[in-house]
Symmetry: C2
Subunit: 333 residues, 2 copies
């Protein structure tokens, strides 16, 4: 069980800021449908006799609208490859996955498909029958096979967001619904979430006009929500967050800060230009450098391998945030 000593009470100011954010956010459209889908999925997983663990993988960038009738928005760069690849490896490792991803971002089993999958991969024979073009045949067939397996198993739920408001509201719903899973629940927060936003109540109603000259904008800080997930929504869940920076020195400092401040079990630190080849996993026990050995390999296989092992230890023994002295020494894999 989580003890109060290593998961301190949440700073009341931070809690208030988070509550104000949700109170002022526009209502989540389709909320009752999202809840119904989540409940049905959670019910199915709970009936599974294997006590299957469940992971919520978040993926892709959030948008921040600049106008209520939104024409312009700020976006966070993320195609969603990491989340889609990780979802495939979690499924292979026996997890049920709630894949909370940005609309239009990369989807599991579709990472190797060209931009226009149907037009580029398929052709019709003179008799009207469909065929995959030879160069895509393997990719298409293996995508369909993998997908039909998870559909048959009922182990993957897709949920989509676009805005920062939608993302955080949906994360809150998933968090609260997974509370009952206790330590079996895992949050793998790979989405690129905006740090800044324009509060709904101060947002322009109409498209901002350019005739008035240059545009001065003031964006507010988004309240930190991971502490809310850790302390309120699903306090027993295993939580891993991601840090992306473009400056290596800044990255390690911020990733270590996030581990302490947010009370998560691990932070995956990645630098924009090397993120497909190398990540550093920061835990209370120390740092683990993961690198990929060849271009044919997905580094997500190693990330998911490392973290599912940690999750198993957490399920079995402790609070997953042991000090370095309690564990094997940090390693390079």
């Amino acid at each position: 069980m989580e003890t109060s000593s290593d998961c301190e009470a949440m700073d009341p100011d931070a809690l208030q800021a988070a509550e104000r954010f949700f109170d002022a956010a526009p209502p989540l459209s389709g909320e009752s449908d999202v809840i119904a889908q989540l409940k049905a999925f959670v019910y199915k997983q709970n009936r599974s006799e294997k006590g299957r663990p469940i992971v919520c993988v978040t993926s892709g960038g959030t948008t921040v609208p600049l106008e209520r009738r939104c024409v312009r928005f700020i976006d966070n760069f993320s195609a969603g490859n990491r989340g889609a690849a990780s979802t495939e490896f979690f499924l292979k490792s026996g997890y049920a996955v709630i894949f909370l991803s940005r609309t239009g971002s990369v989807q599991p089993f579709c990472r190797d498909l060209p931009e226009r999958p149907l037009l580029d991969c398929l052709e019709t024979a003179p008799d009207g029958s469909l065929h995959a073009r030879p160069q895509y045949e393997q990719t298409v067939l293996s995508a369909l096979k993998a997908h039909s397996t998870v559909v048959a198993d009922g182990t993957l739920l897709h949920l989509h967001f676009t805005t920062l408001f939608e993302y955080l509201q949906m994360l809150g719903l998933v968090g609260s619904l997974l509370e009952g899973f206790g330590k079996r629940a895992f949050f793998y927060l790979a989405a690129a979430v905006s740090d800044f936003y324009v509060p709904w109540e101060t947002m322009h109603e109409h498209k901002i006009q350019s005739a008035g000259g240059p545009l001065a904008m003031e964006l507010c800080n988004v309240p930190k929500m991971i502490p809310l997930l850790r302390r309120r929504w699903a306090p027993e869940a295993f939580v891993v967050s991601f840090k992306l920076e473009t400056d290596m020195g800044m990255l390690m400092q911020k990733a270590k800060g996030a581990l302490l401040k947010n009370g998560v079990h691990a932070v995956v630190a990645n630098e924009l230009h090397t993120r497909k080849d190398k990540v550093v996993i920061i835990e209370a026990a120390g740092e683990t450098v993961l690198t990929r050995d060849s271009r044919d390999e997905d580094i997500e296989e190693k990330i998911v391998g490392h973290l599912t092992q940690r999750h198993r230890l957490y399920l079995k023994h402790g609070n997953g945030r042991e000090r370095a002295s309690d564990q094997a020494a940090p390693q390079s894999i």
Copy 2:
């Protein structure tokens, strides 16, 4: 021929601002490849005995990076449905089309496909052969058929942009290469182009940090580029621009202003929430309201029908910017 009286010389300040923009923009990656593709396409169309007209359809939104090693950017809302649909109708009307679209935006012949076209539309039979699921069979087969026809005819060239810088640089390349087509060239500028940007030279190198508190940003106005297209790049081409606003009163005023200021042949005015049902085409001759009669109809068929008729008149007779007294009365269609 264009006469100097109705296409005034370009304001020297505006011209200087546009030149400064291009001088300071980051170099267009893959420029020589884009030029080679354009030249091959233009050469093929020029050899066509029919004197086929050629249209450049721009589609989707441009991004404005906020950091050089870009993590965050401002984006313009546009899925790209209008440009993709219009491209299909231009091809049906006998035009060759250069489709300059945002990476990831909606593509011609793919508008009716679900978000994950391969996974959702296809299934494998027990013998391993591919089939379209019954509910998507017609959509998939007609998309493949339409696409293979334009591939065989060589009448469609796809070019992709993401940033504002890429879009404007590529538009300049297309403009200059189509100059030789004279009046046979048509620019249908449906892309949602940012009005504001951060100049490259003042842009942050690294990801902007949120620890410093709220973010104040000053964005510059993007110089107007349509006058450059009209007066420098392809002065004889038929040019139609688009205005999207969320406020109806503002929309008509701005659309009429754009017609005069930019010297284009028509402006298509559309309001964000009604844009699929109604547009107003503003020309020197007057206004034409186009509405769609049913949900099964694409309003783009009427827009393209109206404008290709105007383009034919322009090719045959005049400068396409006749006053109301020279033409049939404005009409509702």
